[in-house]
């Protein structure tokens, strides 16, 4: 059923514009000397509230519940589609990060665009999902509070990372020096694993909450 639900998400529910947003936010990585984590945050500033208000306007929940699926399938499809769009944002982020290096070739004044940067982005998205989905699935339609909570926690995490990199020389060296490329790659994979774990926990929590409510 998941294949059919994902087809519905991409064909009927999520407007095509939100598949272009990752290219636009990725292009922000070409701004010289900037806090690049901000560019990756546009996903949950623009795409999330718009996609979720459209679900409500189109009565997506009722539509899905009339299909031969269970509530947990519905939860899973929502998490998968957000994970897909986050993956797309990171993918285009990588493309524009490479272009940034080709154009400028100079280090950034805060976190550099390297493998570790994308590890941080994976963790940031994982944290957002971990807060957003369980809060959203308390009702299955109220996305405002969930978006704000998710944003606050993800932004605090990003701020903490930027401050640590800027103020703690050891962390800066490990996260940015080309001598520690291996660590930065390990950090990227660590980020991916944490992203997966965060989404799994988000699913378990969301499923439990969504199962318990009346529609």
């Amino acid at each position: 059923m998941m294949k059919q639900l994902m087809y519905k998400e991409f064909k009927l529910s999520i407007h095509k514009f939100f598949f272009i947003v990752p290219i636009l936010t990725g292009a922000l990585l070409l701004i010289p000397q900037w806090v690049f984590l901000v560019a990756m945050m546009y996903f949950f500033w623009i795409s999330i509230p718009n996609i979720y208000s459209t679900y409500n306007a189109q009565n997506d929940l009722t539509f899905c519940m009339l299909m031969p699926i269970k509530k947990e399938d519905y939860v899973k499809s929502k998490i998968y589609s957000v994970m897909f769009l986050e993956g797309l944002s990171i993918l285009f982020g990588v493309v524009f990060a490479i272009l940034n290096h080709l154009f400028y070739g100079t280090p950034n004044f805060v976190l550099d665009l390297n493998a570790a940067f994308f590890g941080v982005v994976f963790i940031m998205y994982g944290i957002f999902n971990l807060v957003f989905f369980p809060e959203y699935f308390k009702t299955g339609y109220r996305f405002g509070k969930a978006t704000i909570y998710g944003n606050v926690v993800a932004i605090l995490f990003a701020l903490l990372v930027e401050v640590l990199v800027a103020t703690v020389p050891t962390i800066q060296v490990w996260m940015e020096s080309s001598n520690y490329l291996w660590f930065q790659i390990v950090f990227l994979f660590l980020g991916m694993v944490l992203f997966g774990v965060a989404n799994l926990i988000a699913f378990i929590q969301s499923k439990k909450r969504f199962e318990s409510i009346d529609l």
């Binding site: 059923m1 059919q4 087809y7 519905k8 009927l12 189109q58 031969p68 699926i69 318990s212 009346d214």
Partner: protein, 281 residues
């Protein structure tokens, strides 16, 4: 075989309670589910479909428990909730393209035939359809995935008399081969007089009666008498109205047999609903 069997379904809300609902429906029949607004029709339908958690009771479709076989059961049912319009700005062909993928049993030839029969243009947006056409589109989707039971919540509400009559005729046509059943809720009682085989009447969350239409009507008499006669039978009436000559009221047939002196007439479904609405619980 019973296509639907609901046993002792209960659900308690702070301000409303569904109490021990029992309903069964055989293959090849139409059941009308009636009750005033707020009587519990939609809550019952939603509890049947696991959209609302029931506190107690069991719901079985095609002999299978809904709790354990939700996906399989939903494959064999078609639903329509009266006030819900989804993806109204999308073309019918786009919605169909998504819906058909959920069903292995999808019959595209039947879909094309029904779209033609109901004069539904696949390039129209859902919001461009009249209420009657929207119901027909829902039925088209349900029949194309070969649903054996159609559950329709107030499908005739908001339709003009011509469209309503046309739809009720369609309901009868759909069950002719004896393979399908229809359960539809309504508060328009004339719908039931035209096409229902069974009637289930719900009031304040409790099933008052669930039987064949004829049995349902035969259970009651509308009686008329003087003010003096009222004193003797008041406690045996479901409810009554007084006027300058005496009273009119609704009485169950077993009580009426004890009072042959009263004038009596067969009630309409409307009479039964209206008197029950007046009755003090």
């Amino acid at each position: 075989m019973n296509i639907l069997e609901i046993k002792d379904l209960s659900k308690k809300y702070p301000s409303f309670e569904l109490k021990n609902v029992n309903i069964s429906l055989e293959e090849g029949y139409i059941m009308g589910f009636i009750g005033a607004n707020g009587a519990g029709k939609t809550t019952t339908l939603k509890s049947m479909l696991n959209l609302v958690h029931k506190d107690t009771g069991e719901v079985c479709f095609f002999g299978m428990s809904m709790d354990q076989n939700e996906r399989q059961v939903k494959h064999r049912i078609g639903f329509m909730f009266g006030d819900s319009v989804f993806y109204s700005k999308r073309k019918l062909k786009d919605i169909t393209d998504v819906v058909q993928r959920f069903y292995d049993t999808w019959d595209n030839e039947m879909y094309q035939n029904l779209m033609e029969k109901f004069q539904l243009d696949p390039n129209k947006k859902l919001e461009q359809l009249s209420q009657g056409m929207k119901v027909k589109y829902s039925i088209t989707l349900a029949l194309s995935h070969q649903a054996e039971l159609l559950i329709l919540d107030e499908p005739t509400t908001g339709l003009d008399p011509v469209a309503r009559d046309e739809l009720l005729e369609l309901f009868q046509e759909l069950i002719e081969d004896g393979k399908r059943s229809i359960l539809f809720s309504t508060h328009i009682t004339s719908d039931l007089e035209k096409c229902a085989d069974y009637i289930t009447f719900i009031r304040d969350g409790e099933i008052v009666e669930s039987s064949t239409k004829d049995d349902f009507l035969e259970q009651y008499r509308v009686v008329r008498g003087s003010k003096e006669q009222l004193k003797a039978v008041e406690h045996e009436l479901v409810a009554y109205k007084t006027n300058s000559f005496g009273f009119n009221g609704l009485m169950r047939v077993e009580f009426f047999e004890k009072h042959p002196e009263l004038d009596a007439a067969a009630p309409s479904i409307d009479d039964i609903m209206i008197y029950y609405a007046k009755a003090v619980k």
